[in-house]
């Protein structure tokens, strides 16, 4: 099996990109984007994840079998989300008692 040699500078670029995106996450947290706060954080996180998978884990140059394993992991994660949401989206919610909105209980 042939291995693709990835130049060292590629890893450095990715490393600094990840640092930059981490700083961006912190910066965005100080800006109120309303409903897009979570969206922005997730988009940045997704980008970082893809950089790690594609370059640090070298999936970009890997065989089909490795890619299937990666896809399977995402599929499993999707199952976790989908089935959990099947509960959340159809659950009968009862409002929490007002007393629960006070300070968290301390250890007995």
């Amino acid at each position: 099996m042939s291995h693709t040699i990835v130049p060292q500078k590629t890893y450095l670029y990715i490393f600094f990109s990840l640092i930059g995106l981490t700083l961006l996450t912190t910066g965005v947290a100080f800006i109120d984007l309303g409903p897009f706060n979570t969206v922005a954080a997730l988009v940045i996180a997704f980008t970082k994840m893809m950089l790690v998978i594609m370059f640090f884990m070298n999936v970009r140059n890997s065989s089909g079998l490795i890619r299937i394993i990666i896809v399977a992991a995402f599929f499993w994660f999707a199952l976790l989300i989908a089935f959990t949401m099947s509960d959340y989206r159809t659950r009968t919610w009862t409002p929490a008692p007002e007393s629960w909105s006070s300070a968290p209980p301390t250890h007995p």
Partner: protein
Amino acid sequence: MSTATLEPRVHAPRNYLNADYGWKSWLFTLDHKRIALLYLVSITFFFIIGGSFAVLMRIQLVDPQGAIVQPETYNKLFTLHGVVMIFFFLIPSIPAVLGNFLVPLMVGARDLAFPKLNLLSWYIYIVGGLFTLYSAIAGGVDTGWTFYTPYSSTYSNTQVTAVAIGVFITGFSSILTGLNFIVTIHKMRAPGLTWFRMPLFLWATYATSIIMVLGTPVLAITIFLLALEHLFHVGIFSPALGGDPLLFQHLFWFYSHPAVYIMILPAMGVVSEIIACFARKRIFGYKIVAFSSVAIAVLGFLVWGHHMFVTGQSVYAGIIFSLLSFLVAIPSAIKVFNWTATLYKGSISFDAPMLYAMGFIGLFTMGGLTGLFLASLATDVHLNGTYFVVAHFHYIMVGGAVMGYLGGIHFWWPKISGRKYPNGWAALAAAIIFIGFNLTFFPQFVLGYLGMPRRYAFYPAEFQVLNVMSSAGATVLGVGYLIPLIYLFWSMRYGPIAEPNPWGATGLEWKTPSPPPTENFTEIPVVTEEAYAYAEEEAGHE
């Protein structure tokens, strides 16, 4: 060729056990067989610890008012029993001991794909175990092995964090073992060993490894979040902090239900090997049994909500989870029917491993069928949280997984140790375990049906007879477990020398000396026949 030239090669003095001596040769070994033995000793230690907690619980429940400990201590006993037995005995039992020993031998390789990762996984397991033992000594934990929130994250003042860290660490050991098996089975099979020529133990181990690799990280994250909330009051699971306790249960059971299959699937693989050998037949419906292992692994991930029918989970989600739980019974039933069909017109002998395999089939079937009671939405409302559940999962985990593990140990012991054990004692132990097990756990089905809740230190007096029966059975069961420990230990020094293939079994592991040399095979084997070619072998003898 004369036998005189063959004999010294067959009984080669150098093997993995005597290749080197001293503690360093064991603690720094990269040999998968020695690592398997490190695991064997470690999990036996944890089995004794976990079993001791069970003994104390059964003594406590002889008296309706509680015989020996306060309720707080009882809570810690059942928690530690569950944590130790599940995370430190059952999950690593067959994969880490028999899997480590057998996977390279069965695929015809000299070791696993990543020997250093293999040793690392044992060290990680030990560190996780020490954390848990520390917590037991430092006060224990009382949440139950399920760590349900918000009790565990907010209210419990016991050693939740230490145990959580212990389980968290040990999870990585499981991931590394699973990863090693997947890569080894994919990449290191001997020439001619196609997927459908593999022994079913390898299929089962492969399916188990998928669960280990895909499920365990979710448990790790869940425990991490639990610790985060417990230590820093970050609102994730506690309603008082804006979290949702059912989210914990979703995440926890996403791993912990498939974890049951981590325990039972390898045992099914062991049973397939034993049944084929002692019925002298190829497993009936080999391919469907192989695929049913994968089907159990996949479907097992889609049923976790049946643990949450009465928690406030949406009834619609409950219906879906109930349906899927019924579906997972199908591949399990396929296996049971096919093992039974294999026995039909087989040339059956009842050596000790076969007795354990027979015990497995009976007990697993009862455990599986009673699982359907719990998968039904309506009956689960009555049975949830009662001793019926305790009996059900012990029929699967002890009646199934432990019987399979012991069957496997007895089947491959001559290969592992190079010695034979006394078959009469082994058969007696199998019978005692079977009787003791049923006497312990069958009364618990009745107790649960009558409404006795689990996890209570005392109970109404009318339940005493059944509880005393259960405690008496536990004593018999304990004796049954002690006997193999004694004669297997004895056999290591005094047992008759085992030949390479004492059972006349098929499979590459039997084509190498007992015990095998460090490099497993002097030449890379070539596979030219199907798995379990007993018919061909018999024809050859004739």
